[in-house]
């Protein structure tokens, strides 16, 4: 089988498995998978910036929050229907990421980490500053009635799962297309050797800006979907923890692999879930897992697999 054939079959198989799980997964895991798929879209976005383009941001929570609040506030305050509100959220993620990129991409490396972190912190505080509208850390609930789009009600278990799966499938397909496109190859080139890429005629700033904006679009889509599917909008999603989360997912699953973010999100989600069932000190388990991972599989699950056996993995 050709590499393209293998890649397509693998990703279709993952989507088919997720569709299959819809019918057989016990309710608790069924609900979890819906959450994991949305978080995986967030992580996929993070991976586009970090894994493929080498941009280690600590400010992605801001983009997620832009999607979440872009959707939530337009519904809650402006009374918009859910459809336009969702699109607003999605675009807000890309716009905020693009705007931030124009400034932050003047820096690189650890400075970039810190600058993105500080902008995100300012964003978080801004949400709190406008607690009169946002209800700050307590957040607000999006009523089920305001969330339905043309009779499509995302509050049912089945609908939610399938909508999350649809979002995930689109995000996965776009991600796959992106990394196999010209832009995707240049993103990797910038990550591997920025100066060389410049001297091949590529503008690193524009490529990184594009990558960050696409990454923000993903994060915004995930945030918007979270508000829409789960009905809660709160400032907690704008905190630094939610910037570190996708980084961990990506590192665990394998940076620079299309399926890594999903695998990482799934593994981390269940690691915490299972560990917290076994011991109060579940953070210890997570910490030890991270150390062990980085010692023995530093490229993440899929990264290590690719290195040893599956060279064709995108």
């Amino acid at each position: 089988m050709s590499d393209t054939g293998r890649i397509l079959s693998l990703h279709l198989a993952v989507l088919a498995a997720l569709l299959g799980l819809h019918f057989v997964a016990p309710p608790y895991h069924h609900a979890n998978l819906a959450r994991v798929m949305v978080l995986a879209v967030y992580a996929m976005g993070y991976n586009i910036a970090f894994g493929y383009t080498g941009l280690l941001s600590l400010g992605h929570a801001l983009f997620f929050a832009a999607g979440l609040y872009g959707t939530g506030l337009t519904i809650q305050l402006a009374g918009w229907p859910a459809g336009p509100a969702l699109i607003t959220g999605l675009l807000a993620g890309a716009a905020v990421a693009g705007g931030l990129g124009l400034l932050a991409l003047r820096t690189a490396g650890v400075s970039f980490m810190i600058v993105t972190l500080m902008f995100a912190q300012a964003g978080y505080l801004t949400i709190l500053y406008f607690t009169g509208y946002t209800r700050g850390e307590e957040g607000f609930v999006l009523p089920a009635a305001a969330r339905s789009i043309g009779g499509l009600d995302p509050t049912g278990e089945a609908a939610r799962y399938l909508l999350a799966l649809a979002l995930f499938a689109v995000a996965l397909a776009v991600n796959l297309g992106l990394v196999r496109s010209g832009l995707g190859r240049v993103m990797v080139a910038i990550r591997e050797n920025e100066e060389r890429s410049r001297m091949l005629g590529y503008d690193p700033f524009r490529v990184k800006l594009a990558a960050l904006a696409i990454s923000g679009l993903y994060a915004g889509a995930a945030g918007a979907a979270w508000g829409w599917l789960f009905g809660y909008v709160g400032a907690g999603f704008a905190t630094i923890q939610y910037s570190i989360l996708p980084l961990l997912y990506v590192l665990l699953g394998g940076a620079g692999t299309v399926l890594g973010p999903f695998l990482g999100a799934l593994a981390m989600f269940y690691l915490i879930d299972i560990a917290s069932g076994l011991t109060d000190a579940y953070l210890m388990v997570v910490g030890v897992a991270l150390v062990v991972l980085v010692l023995f599989a530093p490229k993440g699950i899929l990264g290590s697999l690719r290195e040893r056996w599956l060279r064709w993995l995108p």
């Binding site: 709190l128 850390e137 009779g151 089945a158 907690g236």
Partner: protein, 427 residues
């Protein structure tokens, strides 16, 4: 998209098929028996880790103590009761997940126990979707404000709006007319502000300055000059580990010289030893307390029994470690909520998930809760329409390093017009 929804029955049928095959392995027979004699499982959404951990520990202990009393008294409807605790990390997203786990995986009949508002607001939609009673111990105004749903109730503790309304007249009459409020830039800080300002005006006083402090702050002195000089009373309500710093720095700022009266919500110092260095300056200041931390001279037998059961001494600290101060002002709500659950389950002769709706209706039908072993904090009035309970509030004065109650509000003082009628909403 209706096509997608069309998949729902097929999902059910697949699950049904699973259940059928499970029956062959004998699993289902166990489920069937569970209806009659097996323990009633109650889910507890616990702030075991994260910012709420100091509360979580005591909420867990209180729940276990109440559970022991319930089981010693024969359980509920003759069945023993079990509480399953699930950590929510004091995080709204994990809160919703904890509800899922407790209900879908562990088979709990209902979920109760969360304190932090953001966890409540983040989890309530999930409880509504799963159609499972969700009894919160949070003192937030979220339930009574009408933003939540028919399945979410707060029968154990008065909401912040009512607390504030009940306090204001006393503050105005006793401490002074001009008040500066210092509160975190958090929703519950705004609840204090939004309700206290008009209540103060109604009582003939005035809020002269409002200082909202970002919750990420660890040092406060630089904001104190924003307190106007003619302030009679400083009203503070802070949370998080930095509150001790806040109080200490306030003390350093004013020192032993003239200072305004100080009235605080004990939330600022819940679980903090009043004998901590730096807190000497609180001598003579006043605190709101939901329940009194220090055993009062006129404490009822019920209060004493409750405190003994939970394991706190006369100073409100753990009987095994006098340095470990309990969250006395709030944790009674866990105790009382469990007994509300018991009462409601017995009213409807609760058998299983099919009776969940009846359980909610039974709580909604409650009105007067008398001071009793079940309600050691005092008598209360439950408003079925707003799903909110209203009780007495205590104002204590720090005297000789302990807090003595100087005033106890009448319940009616905290009345306000209903903002919602949940009973008209569908389940």
């Amino acid at each position: 998209m209706t096509k997608l929804l069309g998949l729902q029955p097929s999902r059910r049928s697949v699950l049904g098929g699973l259940a059928a095959s499970a029956a062959m392995t004998g699993l289902a027979t166990r489920f069937a028996q569970a209806q009659s004699s097996a323990p009633i499982k109650l889910g507890f959404q616990l702030h075991r880790t994260g910012i709420g951990a100091a509360y979580g520990r005591w909420y867990e202990r209180t729940a276990m103590a109440a559970l022991e009393v319930v089981n010693a008294g024969g359980g509920i409807n003759g069945r023993p009761v079990e509480i399953l605790f699930e950590d929510d990390g004091t995080d709204p997203a994990r809160g919703a997940q904890a509800i899922d786990k407790l209900v879908s995986q562990d088979g709990c009949e209902l979920v109760f126990g969360p304190l932090f508002s953001h966890v409540v607001v983040g989890s309530a939609p999930r409880a509504g979707e799963l159609k499972v009673p969700y009894l919160v111990c949070s003192e937030g105004h979220h339930v009574a404000s009408g933003i939540l749903n028919r399945w979410t109730l707060q029968p154990g503790i008065t909401d912040v709006k009512s607390q504030v309304l009940a306090m204001a007249p006393w503050v105005s009459d006793t401490l002074g007319k001009k008040v500066t409020m210092i509160y975190p830039d958090y929703a519950f800080g705004y609840d204090h502000r939004d309700n206290f300002v008009p209540a103060m005006a109604a009582a003939g006083g005035e809020v002269v300055a409002q200082i909202a402090i970002p919750p990420t702050e660890t040092s406060f002195t630089r904001y104190f000059p924003q307190i106007p000089r003619d302030t009679d009373v400083i009203y503070h309500v802070m949370v998080g580990p930095a509150v001790l710093t806040f109080v200490k720095e306030l003390g350093e700022f004013y020192g032993s010289g003239a200072r305004p009266e100080i009235f605080g919500f004990i939330d600022s110092l819940e679980a903090v030893d009043m004998a901590s260095p730096g807190l000497e300056f609180l001598e003579g200041t006043h605190f709101w307390e939901g329940d009194c931390r220090y055993l009062q001279a006129d404490a009822t037998e019920h209060t004493k029994a409750y405190r003994a059961a939970v394991g706190i001494d006369d100073n409100g600290a753990s009987i095994t470690d006098s340095k470990e101060v309990a969250t006395v002002a709030h944790m009674f709500s866990v105790w009382e909520t469990l007994f509300v659950i018991k009462a409601a389950m017995e009213t409807v002769d609760y058998q299983g998930p099919a009776d969940r709706q009846a359980l909610v209706e039974a709580v909604e039908a409650m009105t007067i809760m008398a001071e009793s072993a079940e309600h050691p904090q005092g008598d209360k009035v439950f408003n079925g329409k707003t799903h909110q309970v209203f009780g007495h509030q205590n104002i204590s004065k720090v005297e000789g390093g302990r807090m003595n109650r100087v005033y106890r509000t009448e319940i009616a003082l905290g009345d306000y017009p209903d903002e919602v009628d949940y009973t008209t909403m569908s389940f």
